[in-house]
């Protein structure tokens, strides 16, 4: 397969390419390998992932410690319906900020630098490039999200001390699994959005404005509250909860299904934009 790479034996051979190609599946695997190489050789990507992990775990410990102190002091700083399981999964809201950045950068970095032309010259079948990127996004975020969610939950509970929940408590394992799925989905959703808008600043700005402003504000507006339940972050985060933050009407599985829907929508919109985009 590599015979023609350095040898000049094929010089002068003109006509339809004679080198036997890798099969379609082989080319897809090669594209995935290349996408993984891109991720691991870019400092900003590695920094985002490492930073997300460290910040989440650190936040879990800090939050657990401060909540436990407040509970001990019984100073009214902690809400009356405090639930340690929900508290542990609150970290996921912060973890998603890093996963969103990763999903955005995975695609927007290529458009911003012009490297997308090199990528598409190497992998001209656009579905293959798009799928390889989405696949690497999943393969990177899923395990990292699992470790981060589990570790930050356990550390939060440990820091809560006597007030903490155990890993065997109701909803904990399910919450860990759904939290991992949610973070993976929100990264993919961001990837789809970034593909559609093609700019790091616009995509990241849109996602953060949504998470920090649009979603909380629409939650607070009486007329919008009913609809806000179906926003991806609201539906996704409540799916992890067992206490007062849970949305019994949606439930954990209904909530995550809504996030799946949003993610599929974003990936389809991204694909439709990417499919025939001139680069």
């Amino acid at each position: 397969m590599t015979a023609s790479v350095s040898g000049h034996s094929s010089a002068g051979a003109v006509g339809v390419p004679s080198v036997l190609p890798a099969t379609g599946a082989g080319a897809t695997l090669a594209a995935i390998h290349a996408e993984w190489t891109k991720v691991r050789t870019l400092r900003s990507m590695v920094a985002v992932l490492a930073g997300t992990f460290v910040a989440s775990v650190g936040l879990a410990v800090l939050s657990g410690a401060s909540v436990s102190r407040a509970l001990r002091a019984d100073n009214g700083m902690v809400r009356a319906d405090f639930n340690p399981v929900d508290s542990g999964f609150n970290i996921v809201w912060y973890t998603q900020l890093g996963m969103v950045a990763f999903g955005v950068l995975l695609m927007s970095g290529e458009f911003g630098s012009g490297m997308i032309r090199v990528s598409l010259a190497a992998v001209p079948q656009r579905w293959r490039l798009y799928a390889a990127k989405a696949g690497v996004c999943t393969a990177v975020v899923l395990p990292l999200a699992a470790v981060t969610v589990v570790l930050s939950f356990l550390l939060d509970q440990a820091a809560l001390g006597d007030y903490g929940a155990g890993a065997g408590d109701a909803g904990v394992v399910r919450g860990m699994a759904l939290g991992t799925v949610y973070l993976t989905l929100i990264a993919l959703l961001s990837f789809g959005v970034a593909t559609a808008v093609r700019s790091t600043a616009v995509a990241l700005g849109a996602m953060y404005v949504f998470l920090f402003a649009v979603s909380p504000i629409s939650q607070a507006v009486p007329g919008l509250k009913e609809a806000a339940r179906y926003l991806p972050d609201k539906a996704g985060i409540q799916a992890l909860k067992v206490g007062a933050d849970a949305d019994p009407a949606l439930g954990p599985w209904g909530g995550i299904l809504i996030v799946v829907g949003w993610t599929v929508l974003a990936l389809v919109v991204g694909w439709l934009s990417f499919r025939k985009r001139e680069v």
Partner: protein, 323 residues
């Protein structure tokens, strides 16, 4: 379906057929047809904005033509399997993410085709970047970026090289190196198409010329033919009565234009004939110099004519020459 039946010249590895690409009201490429054959360096020449880059982008499948087609080995680029092993493209200097090293840039590219890492080191050495291979490309000069782009094009040892303005930013030593490399590859029977807006660069590199202006084909000719057809002699004469000499020369059928300082630029006559005419009409002169027009001038004249041609299309067309 009919395409399968059409006659193809088996020696044309690149075929551009009635290619048209519009951006809004602008026809960047306008019914352009040409073929590129192996064993030669073909220069793709045109002024800025003539449609060279657009044509190369369409050849690489990065945009869709409005009509016509751009084929490599008789197929659209997207249908080539393992394209980097057949076609190496260089589009523009900045096409890397700034914080990735040159080595890693080529490494991910190699991964798409299962090209071994040893080949990455090999092409880095070929373009003279092995010492900076570990540095981020953000700190690269334009010339270094260009060398990296050429390394990327060479990675799959392709039969076809498509290079857009590859000498941009290269130092003289780099230009010489690239020229030698391209000629060697052509001599080995491969196909090289490189674009440029500099005729003089083409004159020393290319064997064949495809010249475009405003998206249209202006000439598809061997370098030799272009030289013999378009290189005319020009005579510059500084006389005491430039206006009268000008009339005399024009009556004799020559082209004459006034330049500052009483100098006439005369075309269509040899310097000996110009001198004879001046003497016959008793016009004194104190300087007479003959030179042949450079290829660059011939090229500029040709593209200027194309620009007028297009501009004059609405108002009725007379096909007059430039200037």
């Amino acid at each position: 379906m009919w395409r399968a039946w059409r006659r193809r010249d088996p020696r044309s590895v690149i075929e551009v057929q009635h290619l048209t690409k519009c951006y809004g009201p602008t026809r960047a490429v306008d019914d352009l047809s040409f073929v590129v054959r192996p064993g030669k360096v073909t220069g793709f020449l045109g002024p800025n904005g003539a449609g060279k880059s657009t044509t190369l982008r369409l050849l690489l499948g990065l945009g869709r033509p409005d009509s016509g087609q751009a084929l490599l080995f008789g197929k659209p680029y997207r249908e080539l399997r393992d394209p980097l092993r057949h076609v190496g493209g260089l589009l523009e200097a900045k096409s890397t993410q700034r914080t990735r090293s040159a080595y890693h840039h080529l490494l991910w590219l190699a991964r798409t085709h299962r090209i071994p890492e040893a080949r990455v080191r090999e092409v880095l050495a070929m373009v003279g970047l092995e010492e900076v291979a570990g540095r981020r490309t953000g700190g690269f000069s334009l010339g270094m970026e260009q060398r990296l782009g050429i390394a990327a094009a060479l990675l799959g040892d392709p039969e076809i090289l498509l290079l857009d303005e590859p000498v941009n930013g290269l130092d003289p030593e780099g230009v010489h190196w690239l020229r030698t490399l391209l000629k060697e590859r052509a001599a080995a029977g491969r196909t090289v198409l490189l674009s440029s807006h500099l005729m003089n660069e083409m004159a020393v590199t290319a064997d064949h010329l495809v010249i475009i202006g405003r998206g249209r084909l202006l000439a598809d000719t061997s370098m030799e033919d272009f030289t013999s057809q378009h290189c005319r002699s020009v005579v510059r004469i500084r006389s005491y009565e430039p206006q009268r000499l000008c009339d005399v020369l024009r009556q004799a059928g020559a082209g004459a234009e006034e330049e500052p300082g009483g100098v006439l630029r005369v075309t269509g006559l040899e310097s000996r004939e110009v001198a004879q005419l001046a003497r016959a009409h008793h016009i004194g002169y104190d300087e007479l110099a003959g030179e042949s027009t450079s290829l660059e001038e011939a090229f500029l004249e040709m593209t200027a004519r194309a620009a007028q041609f297009t501009a004059g299309q609405g108002a009725g067309l007379d096909g007059r020459g430039g200037a």
